[in-house]
């Protein structure tokens, strides 16, 4: 009996391992068709479901790599992610002596860029506010106010994301569009609603890490005559830095894979945004909207996107975990 129970528990624990490996292998094999067709060029190809002329003699296309500059203030992001835009030189394809025909091409650049940009906008919006809330809850507010607000924030983190999406589409986006101009469904509104969604989660875990600062440290600083801000800046932040960064990365991981809050607002158009108020698409939304109808190469390409998203979020979350572990040891 003892042995059976032990084996059983080992088996269930290994199930986690099996499922994760299973996800990886399944996504990989389901996207094999797209991988062999497009290779890694998939990541930098802006076309989706588009007929592209190819030479029948030589299907490998001549590509010219042009570094793609994101609109003005996003330059740092472009550097960071090394987003390259491989522009196909269409003219090269019409060689006089080759017969041209068309193939349907799928590329992941637009959803990948859309995913990264919405996440960045969301974090840029949520980060300062979440920090403010965390500082307010752990240092400024008296206990009898901080406690109920803290619970309210934790409860808000539990609200299904689809509700954030609906609210965003019908109430928030019209106001943003009035203020900034442009479309109601856009990169900006999607990013902001995503930011509102991760806000309670981020605030709650940031507050938790701030609360781990020992009172003795704070009290000794106050005794030295430090102001509250100085205590926050010089004692609490350095002490809980690792936890705070870890929680930011966890929020980032959550924002990357979020489907429903973004699906209502991003516009679901496969085109690269030239302005922040342009509609575009993200990987989860591309999957949500196209999975049912897709087949063949299109479906395989969606699995390829899923694989890319899985790898990105796996990397981001493992990084956060490693960072945590390194900090706590």
């Amino acid at each position: 009996m003892e042995k059976i129970f032990q084996k059983l528990s080992l088996a269930s624990a290994s199930l986690v391992f099996v499922i994760l490996i299973g996800i990886f292998i399944t996504l990989f094999s389901a996207s094999k068709e797209a991988i062999s067709e497009f290779g890694l060029g998939f990541i930098s190809n802006p076309n989706w479901n588009k007929e592209v002329p190819v030479t029948s003699a030589d299907t490998s296309k001549i590509q010219e790599v042009v570094s793609f500059d994101m609109a003005d203030d996003k330059e740092d992001i472009a550097d960071e992610d090394a987003i390259l835009d491989e522009d196909e030189d269409d003219e090269m394809l019409f060689d006089e002596d080759s017969v041209s025909e068309t193939i349907t091409e799928y590329g992941g650049l637009v959803p990948i860029v859309g995913t990264l940009l919405t996440t960045i906008i969301a974090l840029a919006f949520a980060l300062p506010i979440a920090m403010g809330i965390a500082v307010f809850l752990s240092e400024i507010a008296p206990k009898n106010i901080a406690y109920p607000i803290g619970i309210a924030i934790e409860l808000l983190a539990a609200i299904p994301s689809i509700i954030f999406g609906m609210w965003g589409l019908y109430y928030f986006a019209p106001i943003v569009a009035d203020l900034v101009g442009g479309y109601q469904v856009s990169l900006l509104t999607a990013g902001l609603v995503l930011g509102v969604m991760v806000l309670p989660f981020m605030a709650a875990i940031t507050r938790d890490s701030m609360n781990t600062t020992p009172d003795v440290l704070k009290e000794s600083a106050y005794a030295m005559g430090a102001t509250k801000f100085e205590v926050i800046k010089d004692i609490i932040f350095p002490y809980s830095k690792v936890g705070i960064i870890g929680s930011i990365i966890l929020a980032l991981g959550r924002a990357l894979g979020e489907t429903m809050a973004v699906a209502f607002l991003i516009g679901s158009i496969f085109s690269l945004p030239s302005k922040i108020t342009d509609p575009t698409i993200s990987i989860p939304v591309a999957m949500a909207n196209n999975f049912g109808e897709a087949s063949g190469l299109g479906e395989s390409s969606l699995f390829y996107l899923a694989l890319i998203l899985f790898i990105i979020s796996f990397a981001v979350i493992s990084f956060a975990k490693l960072y945590f572990l390194r900090g706590t040891k």
């Binding site: 391992f17 979440a130 307010f136 689809i162 609906m166 926050i232 999975f291 899985f310 975990k321």
Partner: protein, 268 residues
């Protein structure tokens, strides 16, 4: 000067807290106003095809319930392994992987189930939806069980062993009993989380306008139907979507509060 900076920063922090909270308050108020104005008790009596939500609410509960029946025992036993049996690297690896799985994008889990269940069986089904939710639930339950067992003092285990009980007896009769309340709370929170999930159901169970208990067909789902209804141009559909969202939110908050209530009572 220092005092001035102090005042400014604290003011900014309070201000951002107010901004953040007012956003969240705005959502809740919208949800309650829109939801309550479209809410009617007949929603619980009719199916979606007749303008009600009965089949959807039932369907969502059935999907999440099956996910729980599969995910909770597996997750608990796996959590027991990590905390009680596992030694060294393998248990730590599983613990880390389970944490990573907990934050894995839910739509990717949907795609995984689509590939291994929906494609081979030839169509969307309630089973596929329940499997996706079970996969989502598993790591949450593992994590809770692991954490709650770690709070049980070692002396309890030693006392059990000293009395001659075998290890699994000690675990089931002593350790689990001591951690019962915490684990139950964790399971309630896990349930609250998966019952509001949409993305993993979109192309696994889909949804249905009719009342159905047949898990081999497309299965009614509240969240997927909210997504469909909210995108309809007619005002009536959107109002129904708001009513459904309101019911869903009340449900999720109710489960969450119940979980908290249990923990608080225990502490006293």
């Amino acid at each position: 000067m220092r005092l001035l900076i102090n005042k400014i920063i604290l003011g900014l922090s309070t201000l951002s807290a107010i901004i953040g909270l007012s956003f969240l308050g705005w959502i809740l108020i919208t949800l309650f106003i829109k939801g309550l104005s479209s809410f009617h008790f007949s929603l619980f009596l009719n199916d979606l095809i007749d303008g009600g939500l009965r089949n959807l609410i039932m369907g969502q509960f059935i999907l999440a319930g099956i996910a729980g029946i599969v995910g909770i025992p597996l997750g608990m036993v796996a959590g027991i392994y990590i905390r009680e049996y596992g030694r060294g690297k393998y248990a730590q690896l599983i613990r880390n992987l389970s944490d990573i799985m907990m934050s894995a994008p839910s739509i990717v889990i949907g795609a995984f189930v689509y590939a291994i269940v929906v494609i081979p069986t030839g169509g969307t089904s309630g089973f596929a939806g329940a499997i996706s939710l079970a996969i989502m639930m598993l790591p949450i339950v593992i994590n809770t069980t692991d954490n709650m067992l770690s709070l049980v003092p070692k002396e309890l285990r030693e006392a059990g062993i000293a009395l001659g009980a075998s290890k699994y007896k000690v675990i089931i009769d002593i350790v689990i009993r001591a951690a019962k309340v915490g684990i139950m709370t964790g399971i309630l929170l896990a349930f609250a989380r998966i019952i509001g999930e949409t993305a993993p159901l979109l192309f696994t169970s889909e949804t249905s306008n009719y009342f159905s208990l047949d898990l081999t067909e497309s299965f009614p789902s509240l969240t997927v139907s909210i997504y469909d209804l909210a995108n309809e141009p007619e005002e009536a559909s959107r109002d129904l979507a708001w009513a459904a969202s309101f019911i869903l939110t009340v449900l999720v908050l109710f489960i969450n509060l119940t979980g908290r209530f249990i923990t608080r009572n225990k502490k006293r």
